[in-house]
């Protein structure tokens, strides 16, 4: 790209400070510098949920890493030197890092400019269903406790990279890995005052996202601002350190949970007080509670539930929509209490799970309509494979233990926006090449192959005849974006609908050309066959040429838009997804009582995927998700001191390596969902959800202690071992009986 400049960002070194003054004159004077921007010399508007963020901060900074100024220069070295020449005067303000402190009305207010925010509570999520007090009175056993999840990061191996370029007619093209491309375009336009019909977003191959590339970030806007100012294309590459401090993280969530059950193990209630520590701004991360709440109210049949949740601001890097979106955190609490309450009642935790398992046809208290549901089967499979009945509770002498966890997660879209839809276009040309142009994006999750398989199957052509185009907003039809494990289900249904129409068009021509009635025609492997007449076979290419290359010829092409029959929740009630995925894991661990070191020996998993369209890639998604879950459970954490991420690098972060992840056993359970394309449900996030809970339960089985937080690093486990941290049983059913 000729004339490409390099962008770089100056970030706040203070966790909370007022910006007193900024002097860019020296930076501007440096040869090779083409622009120096800050809040005082650009056009920008607040953006984000509740408009609590702005790309370049003018009044104050709210975490270490907040964007203050940026430069565009001829090369990286000049850009870095220019950043050093910018002088910013800050007046440090009192800080708050602990979410519970942040709740205290006397703590420093982080968003004093927002009139609709009281104290530091960005948002509340309150839910009541049934009579919790009555259920409590009835319960034979009640367990209660605190469960905490840390700040973690998605860590794609490729960092965020953005290129922005205006053409002479003011048309903006942005190359970006963000996979909510149409929303991205609108947010860019709204914040920067651009015409969104003059923006093209192109998505090059993406080196992983895991949700880290869902949110639009300040650096996206900044790259465009720099290109606008310099009239030159600008490229901005996030360094690995910036990826940790300046892109979205997984929010720490703290659960104070109580679960009650009757003497037979029937669940009676769950009662949760939750504090979500989402950091300095809302981002999408503030909405992770949507999913966390679903697990509390709807994982197993729970007659009564109560949730009180505050999402609070703190002076830290803020949360985004990382894979699992609140669910690994919630499952860590909920599934530990399933085993704790079973133990308190003297029952087997698997029996208690099966007794309360969600069933097809259930409508959960939040209005989630369960269609296909393989939860029971998944539980039975991992129970059997792990030798649960013979081994759980018998290996403590050898410091070994088994623990289980199940999950529920959206698997048929998720209506968090007015539309939950995705468009598709399918065409066939004169060579019989089939092209699918889909709204969905490929991030390495394998959607391109799955969508091509759906189209190939539906039309009746070989897989390698189908080409997929998905990377340019000028070309592709509208889509909400890749999130919530929705692509196979939503983009798959859209592709299938368009492919059905294409097949019909091809058959219409075949009726005409081959002179046979439509019910005697089939398309198999790219050839139209007439039943009972071998002679009349015709390859699709030839058929297409007969249709096209004549007077009044016509092309074969069809479009479809699939918006699943889902509801936007009102007061947290509504069928947010058209299908739900379920699954269960059992972990086997060995705990070194001397050091507290937890070694994961085995992980058996069973996932209800509806139908595995591409089994190898379904397995790969589950293995990769589970590996991330293992990372959360045992090693991953952004350790923060006084608002500073202690070691923003890959060496210290604790990403699992090939020696840390055992061979994971994956069972794909097919329940053939009534609405899924060929019965498939989404599974992209599923694998990450249960491991931390299953491993915690296994640690409890191995040692008798009860893990309260993850990652379960040796020194923390050692602390629990030394302190004798146990389950808190508020009422003991079996003992009373």
């Amino acid at each position: 790209m000729s004339g490409l400049l390099v962008g770089a960002i100056l970030r706040s070194p203070h966790p909370h400070a007022r910006i007193v003054s900024i002097d860019i004159s020296e930076a501007e004077a440096l040869p090779g510098v083409h622009a120096v921007i800050h809040a005082g010399n650009v056009e920008q508007r607040p953006y984000g949920y509740n408009h609590d963020n702005v790309p370049l901060k003018g009044e104050k900074v709210r975490f270490i890493g907040d964007e203050v100024a940026a430069v565009a220069a001829v090369d990286e070295e000049t850009a870095r030197r220019a950043l050093e020449l910018i002088t910013v005067q800050y007046e440090p303000l009192p800080t708050v890092f602990d979410p519970f402190e942040s709740l205290d009305p006397s703590s420093p207010q982080i968003h004093d400019e927002l009139e609709n925010v009281e104290g530091n509570v960005a948002m509340r999520w309150d839910w009541d269903h049934g009579d919790v007090a009555a259920a409590e009175a009835e319960a034979a056993a009640i367990v209660e406790g605190m469960y905490s999840a840390p700040q973690a990061a998605p860590v794609p191996i490729e960092t965020h990279i953005v290129i922005a370029s205006f053409d002479p007619a003011e048309h903006l093209t942005v190359w970006s890995p963000i996979h909510m491309v149409f929303m991205y375009r609108k947010e860019l336009a709204d914040c920067l005052g651009l015409d969104w019909e003059h923006i093209t977003v192109i998505q090059p191959p993406v080196g992983g996202s895991f949700g880290g590339k869902i949110d639009i970030d300040p650096h996206d806007f900044i790259t465009v601002m720099l290109a606008r100012k310099t009239r030159r294309p600008v490229k901005l590459v996030m360094s690995r350190e910036e990826e940790f401090i300046g892109t979205r993280t997984r929010q720490p969530i703290h659960f104070k949970l109580r679960t009650g059950a009757d003497a037979d193990g029937n669940l009676l209630f769950r009662d949760a007080e939750i504090v979500s520590d989402n950091g300095a701004y809302n981002g999408w991360g503030s909405h992770a509670m949507l999913v966390a709440m679903q697990t509390i109210t709807s994982m197993y049949r729970v007659p009564a539930s109560r949730v009180r949740c505050a999402v609070v601001y703190t002076n830290k890097n803020y949360g985004g929509s990382v894979r699992g979106f609140g669910n690994p955190q919630a499952t860590f609490a909920v599934e530990q209490q399933m085993e704790e309450i079973a133990d308190a009642l003297g029952l087997d935790p698997m029996d208690v799970r099966l007794r309360n398992a969600n069933q097809p046809g259930d409508v959960t208290p939040q209005g989630m309509q369960i269609t296909s549901c393989g939860l029971e089967e998944c539980l039975e499979i991992v129970r059997e494979q792990s030798g649960w009945d013979k081994r759980r509770g018998t290996m403590r002498e050898r410091h070994r233990g088994l623990g289980a966890a199940a999950f529920v997660h959206v698997g048929g879209g998720a209506r968090i926006y007015r539309s939950d839809g995705c468009g598709a276009m399918v065409k066939v040309d004169d060579s019989a090449q089939v092209t699918l142009i889909t709204g969905a994006s490929e991030l390495g999750q394998g959607s391109e192959t799955v969508l091509a398989m759906i189209v190939a199957e539906e039309i009746g052509v070989p897989l390698d005849a189908v080409h997929v185009i998905n990377s340019n907003t000028d070309v592709k039809p509208w889509d909400v974006g890749v999130h919530a494990s929705r692509t196979t289900f939503v983009a798959g249904n859209a592709a299938k609908l368009a492919a059905t129409k294409v097949r019909e068009q091809l058959l219409e021509t075949a009726v005409e050309v081959l002179g046979a009635p439509v019910d005697e025609l089939r398309i198999v492997d790219g050839v139209v066959e007439v039943s009972g007449d071998e002679e009349k076979r015709m390859p699709l290419g030839k058929l297409m040429r007969r249709r096209l290359l004549r007077e009044q010829g016509s092309i074969v092409m069809a479009t479809a838009f699939y918006d699943p029959p889902t509801q936007m929740q009102k007061d947290y009630y509504g069928n947010v997804s058209a299908a739900y995925g379920f699954g269960a894991h059992v972990a086997e661990v060995e705990v070194d009582p001397g050091t507290g070191m937890v070694r994961l020996l085995n992980l058996w998993t069973a996932h209800d995927v509806g139908r595995a369209i591409n089994p190898m890639s379904a397995e790969g998604q589950i293995e990769g998700g589970a590996a991330m879950g293992i990372g959360l459970a045992l090693s991953e954490e952004l350790v923060i001191f006084d608002g500073q991420i202690a070691a923003p690098n890959l060496h210290d972060y604790g990403l699992p390596t090939a020696v840390d992840v055992p061979r994971i056993v994956v069972n794909l359970v097919e329940t053939i969902d009534p609405r899924g394309p060929f019965g498939a449900k989404g599974l992209g996030e599923a694998g990450i959800i249960p491991p931390a809970a299953a491993i915690a339960n296994a640690v409890a089985d191995a040692t008798g202690i009860r893990p309260r937080a993850y990652p379960m690093r040796p020194w923390k486990v050692k602390e629990w071992l030394d302190a004798g941290e146990r389950s808190h049983v508020a009422r003991q059913g079996a003992a009373d009986a």
């Binding site: 191996i157 960092t159 191959p205 390495g444 190898m616 390596t657 090939a658 992840v661 994971i664």
Partner: protein, 160 residues
Amino acid sequence: MRVELSVNGDPYRREIEPDATLLSLLRETLGLTGTKWGCETGDCGACTVLVDGEPVVSCLQLARQVDGTDVTTVEGLEVEGELGDLQAAFVRNGAAQCGFCTPGMLMSAEALLRRNEAPAEAEIREALSGNLCRCTGYSKIVDAVLEAAESRQAPVDASA
């Protein structure tokens, strides 16, 4: 300053900055973008290449230090325009999802197979432990390496 080296069998002579890394020489000067940049601190392994057959993280290697060496990058694993056996095994086993770690994984695996023709699973995991993958959970990568090792050992078809 000037470096002379061989990359994937082709001789190159280039002017470089004294502090240029081998990674920037490959990606920016020679346009061989198969080798990936993931951290620049030696932690991710995405930039792994072979220097005289030994795996090296090219982000930490100065270009001037490879003067006179023989460098192999992922582009060099192809055989006459076709995927090499290890690459093909990766494809067959679903060992690449986003593919960003794959070039580095392939080079570490290639180095392993050159010094150990029949590695055990644990040896493969050890050899790949400097290459981070966030997508796969590693098992399918290990399977691909096992499969490639096996096929290299299989007796050569006499009729070929």
